[in-house]
């Protein structure tokens, strides 16, 4: 507010007083206009890549989604046929629902774990943070493929450590691989384990930025730890939580490598997620047009998720 009042108040007076003075602001404006070359050069690489690998494929993809293109030869126009077929394809629905279930499982688990580890790593009470930091971070270094191998090794039905422990304790072997729901649970655990570190990093940065004075004032008022966490910490890190939720949803909606390595969407095709469905149709069956239509449905879902979250965030802020 103050900034906007100042220039209007001071500008007219020199203009009235002296002649050459007003040249200054005008020259400044003129100079500012001159800065088109430099910024253009600076963004040129990103602009070129953005157009080539984002705009162009998005437009061609949208066009191909109305054709029965196979990757070679002509691309016969079929109108909305692909989309109609998609809406009647049970395998697509199954993949879509599995993806939503998977996301609904992974996201809350990841948020709780990453916020929990972040709070502990910034807490003055926990001891041994140096080692803990490295261990919490390890899963981030491990690729989804290798993480898949690790969890497959742990949850192997007749050789895994988990079943060995269960049977040693007198339980029965659990069908981690051949039961569709159980194998999805393994993937969810593995994904939360792998997704913690990055989100933890976001939360740690946010927690460090909460002013300590708030906590001191609350302590004087006799607030307990939980009250302080709920009333001060959570509202203060809300913008970061928003980003974490958004990124986690977008990320888990497009999971591929992890599930590929743990059970390849199995048993059978029970746990095929959307990207796997798109990959199979597009690259194994060469139905590029159909796969593009599926891609656009996924894109639409992601956009809806993003827009809902943005709107909710706006409303909360106002």
């Amino acid at each position: 507010m103050v900034d906007s009042i100042r220039p209007t108040a001071s500008e007219p007076s020199p203009e009235v007083r002296r002649g050459p003075e007003p040249v200054r602001p005008r020259q400044r404006n003129g100079r500012r206009k001159r800065y088109t070359g430099a910024p253009l050069v600076l963004i040129s690489i990103n602009l070129l890549l953005f157009v080539t690998f984002f705009v162009w494929p998005a437009i061609t993809g949208l066009m191909y989604s109305f054709t029965s293109y196979t990757g070679v030869g002509p691309a016969p126009w079929v109108g909305l046929d692909n989309y109609q077929r998609l809406l009647q394809d049970d395998a697509f629905y199954a993949a879509l629902i599995r993806t939503l279930v998977y996301t609904a499982g992974v996201v809350p688990l990841t948020i709780v774990l990453s916020l929990g580890t972040a709070v502990l790593l910034t807490s003055p009470y926990a001891k041994g943070k140096t080692i803990a930091r490295i261990v919490f971070f390890l899963p981030w270094l491990i690729s989804p493929i290798i993480a898949g191998v690790i969890w497959r090794w742990l949850f192997g039905e007749n050789f895994g450590l988990v079943n060995y422990l269960i049977t040693s304790l007198g339980g029965k072997e659990v069908a981690w691989q051949s039961n569709g729901n159980l194998s999805l649970i393994v993937v969810i655990i593995a994904a939360a384990w792998g997704g913690t570190a990055f989100n933890m990093l976001l939360f740690v940065a946010a927690l460090k930025n909460v002013p300590t004075a708030y906590y001191e004032a609350a302590s004087l008022d006799g607030a307990g730890s939980w009250a302080k966490f709920r009333r001060i910490t959570l509202p203060a890190i809300a913008p970061t939580t928003f980003i974490v939720v958004l990124l986690s949803i977008l990320h888990s909606m497009k999971e591929y490598a992890l599930i590929k390595a743990i059970n390849d969407g199995g048993p059978g095709s029970t746990n095929n997620l959307l990207v796997q469905y798109i990959y199979t149709k597009g690259f194994e069956r060469a139905q590029i047009g159909y796969a593009s239509a599926a891609s656009f449905v996924l894109m639409l879902i992601l956009m809806i998720v993003a827009i809902i979250q943005l709107v909710m965030n706006r409303r909360k802020e106002s």
């Binding site: 774990l113 001891k127 290798i146 742990l154 976001l202 590029i288």
Partner: protein, 283 residues
């Protein structure tokens, strides 16, 4: 942080310390045990891997899984390919993100603002969503089955660009104005003054970008066809997808493939832990 007063710890503080530490170490176990078990298993000879009762440490530790993984696949080649991909993509990502991030932070043209929104959109709509058309574009550009096909499309990243943008927003404009008054050109100001200032961001993004590209799976899988050009992740995944999984080789190959990242992380730990990566995405 809050407990910086040096009074003797109240009994409440002691219980807090106990619980916080206990919970943290429980979580450390939860996060560490899968990796530890995996590592220890990789030193077991093939016969011992499945022999009950399972033991934590091998009775006859061996590195045969590792040597087998190294020799029975073109592992050295995969390693080299992945290294080339990761280094090239990281170098290019840093150059592109620094330049673009600087432009987004320090210039105020309408098209700069519009482009900011475009870059932000790429986080919402990732490559997986336009997988098949992206493949067609890369193929039509004649890049199919080349290392460039893996590297070039991955250079533009919203996270990297916004990390730089956020950093340069925090650099005072006076510095830029002073350089202008001294007659320094815009690009040379960027190269000589701004870029050196952003060293911590360069380091952080280098670690991040290296990790992303080292661990990429689906994109290299799609654009690479020639086994001589495969990356490590494709190599490991091919062992997983085999009819009969050779666990001994798989464990060795997996551990080998993650060594470089662990080393890099241990060296650059402080940059990664201090990274304020969310700042850029907040608005």
């Amino acid at each position: 942080m809050a407990a910086r007063a040096k009074r003797p710890a109240a009994p409440g503080e002691l219980t807090k310390k106990f619980w916080a530490t206990a919970v943290m170490w429980l979580l450390v176990a939860v996060y560490g045990v899968p990796v530890l078990w995996f590592l220890l298993s990789s030193f077991k000879p093939a016969g011992e891997l499945f022999s009950y009762p399972l033991t934590l440490f091998s009775k006859h530790p061996t590195i045969k899984g590792y040597t087998q993984a190294w020799t029975s696949f073109d592992f050295a080649q995969y390693f080299l390919n992945t290294l080339i991909v990761a280094v090239a993509a990281t170098a290019l990502t840093i150059v592109a993100s620094a330049m673009c991030g600087y432009a987004l932070a320090k210039y105020n043209n309408w098209w700069i603002r519009a482009f900011t929104v475009c870059i932000l959109a790429t986080t919402m709509l990732p490559g997986e969503v336009i997988l098949s058309p992206l493949f067609l574009v890369v193929r039509d550009l004649g890049m199919y089955n080349s290392i460039a096909a893996v590297v070039v499309p991955s250079v533009i990243t919203a996270t990297g660009t916004f990390m730089f943008r956020q950093f340069f927003l925090s650099v005072p404009n006076d510095l830029l104005e002073a350089a202008r008054i001294d007659g320094s050109g815009e690009l040379s100001t960027f190269l000589r003054i701004m870029l050196p200032l952003s060293r911590p961001i360069i380091m952080t993004l280098a670690v991040f970008s290296f990790q992303w590209r080292w661990n990429d799976y689906i994109w290299p899988l799609i654009v690479l066809n020639d086994p001589n050009k495969f990356t490590l992740q494709i190599g490991v995944a091919s062992i997983v997808g085999a009819e009969n999984v050779n666990w001994s080789v798989l464990l060795g190959a997996s551990v080998l493939s993650m060594v470089p990242l662990v080393v890099i992380y241990l060296v650059f730990q402080k940059y990664v832990m201090n990274a304020d990566i969310n700042a850029g995405l907040k608005d």
